[in-house]
Symmetry: C2
Subunit: 291 residues, 2 copies
């Protein structure tokens, strides 16, 4: 029996651990800091085994997933750089890749590292909100190092497939961080900015599906997202600038009551959206409502 | 048997008609312009009866719902102002109320008018996408006239309850249009503006739930939303200005790499979101995924 160690059993770690139970000939061991989390994890079968002692788990683990906030991951890599098993694979699953791959350079050459980012989450945190199907239908982004072994890349692919991920997307840390600034970080700032509006609490009773959808992720994990935004500031501020410009362009057309311009702009935007035709969990909503 | 006439069987009209079938001692008659829509409506039991002839339906209808685009509604009110049954109630269900209530002033005094706005919809259009449970859990906003009868207001309340709406919210046309600029129209422009980003098509494979949720409504009915935005331009441009300011404030904090400020802002925004704690269809998603 081989071992997958999952360090940190929050929403993502808990879901990953539970989703990987039964994968090939691996057992899943959780590594946590609090006894309460350990108890919960065992009681709810989030893991096969659990420990509070890194020294008892890391040297035995064939794969280690670091499922904490970015700065905790970089600190953990530093602190435990000599504790990982030779020939083993260490991965993280956080939403930033540049800073993480840089930090992973402290690992000895006999320990492989691959940055992972399964594109899933909910607006809830903690092991209580984790569930094994969280990654079903999600893209699994992978940023390997040039020296990462093909065997380890293939292993991650099989794990992603086992989790039910839609596909594996291989990219560089730089490209990941640049695109994620747009597809993920901007969405969170848009949601937050909508909630900053002075009229928020006056609008109760007047909100429909679009308002709920756009603001859903505003109830985010503040510590984690502060780190993610800070570690990706240059890319993110560029994307924010573009969003402001695009909003402003709509405002100009609307202020000028330029009906033709509004129509042209909406035709352009809605066609782009239709061309994207994004598949995924979001589409389950309508189907569910139809039933 | 009394009659509810539903004029226009698109997404909203079709869903409303189907949802009202079986309500008290009313039968639901659809009024459409195309034979194909009439055939579809009967075949899929969207209505009890259907007609292409307003003169055959309007003078008999006890309640008439106008389910077209705003400018079609105002034109229809003008054209058919003498065709509605004395003592009957005419309603619209579109997303703007000021212009509609103004247009309804052409009705004779013996015809009542109440503006309605059930806060539901999807990113799809047409009768093929309609379904009777569309309004389940939605707010039903009602803008009555001072001279609207209590019996008609009570009738609308019972209909909204029959449709499964969460609650009835009574307001004025002015307040409706001002708040809807924020809760609904802004969300559609945000979705459109996100899709205007130059990197949209490069981001395939990197999008998760938040991107799908925020951009969902960008595939909107262009003609209808052009009218809705144009008819509410002053309120909407104010809301857009506030959104630009709130985004800009985040950008400033991020450009300055001001970690403390980012943390403070996210704490503020996310607490506001949690205080709103919006119930509704959006929450079904997570529950559905849990299963």
């Amino acid at each position: 029996m081989k071992t997958i160690a999952v360090v940190g059993l929050g929403l993502i770690g808990g879901s990953l651990a539970a989703g990987l139970r039964g994968f090939e000939d691996y057992q899943v061991t959780g590594l946590v800091r609090r006894q309460a989390t350990a108890d919960y994890a065992l009681e709810h079968q989030v893991v096969d085994a659990v420990s509070l002692d890194p020294a008892a788990v890391l040297p035995q683990a064939d794969v280690t997933f670091l499922c904490m906030n970015p700065r905790q991951i970089t600190a953990y890599l530093q602190e435990h750089r000599s504790d990982f098993k030779a020939g083993s694979l260490v991965c993280d699953v956080c939403g930033i890749k540049g800073a993480i791959l840089e930090a992973a350079e402290c690992l000895p050459p006999e320990v492989d590292f691959i940055g992972c980012h399964p594109m899933a989450g909910t607006e809830f945190s903690g092991i209580e909100n984790s569930f094994p199907t969280l990654f079903r239908g999600a893209h699994f982004i992978l940023t390997a190092r040039p020296e990462s072994t093909p065997e380890h890349v293939a292993l991650i692919r099989r794990m992603a497939a086992f989790l039910g991920c839609r596909d594996i997307v291989c990219t560089t840390a730089e490209q990941h961080d640049s695109i994620i600034a747009y597809t993920s970080q901007l969405m969170h700032i848009v949601a937050a900015a909508v909630c900053d509006d002075a009229e928020l609490f006056q609008c109760r009773g007047f909100e429909g599906g679009s308002f709920r959808d756009v603001t859903r992720v505003a109830a985010m994990d503040v510590d984690m997202w502060t780190e993610l935004f800070s570690l990706n500031a240059p890319a993110l501020s560029k994307v924010l600038q573009r969003m402001e410009d695009n909003l402003h362009s709509y405002r100009t057309a609307i202020e000028n009551a330029d009906v033709e311009r509004i129509h042209t702009k909406l035709t352009y935007s809605s066609e782009r959206k239709r061309r994207m035709s994004l598949p995924g969990p979001g589409q389950f909503t309508l189907e569910a409502l139809h039933k």
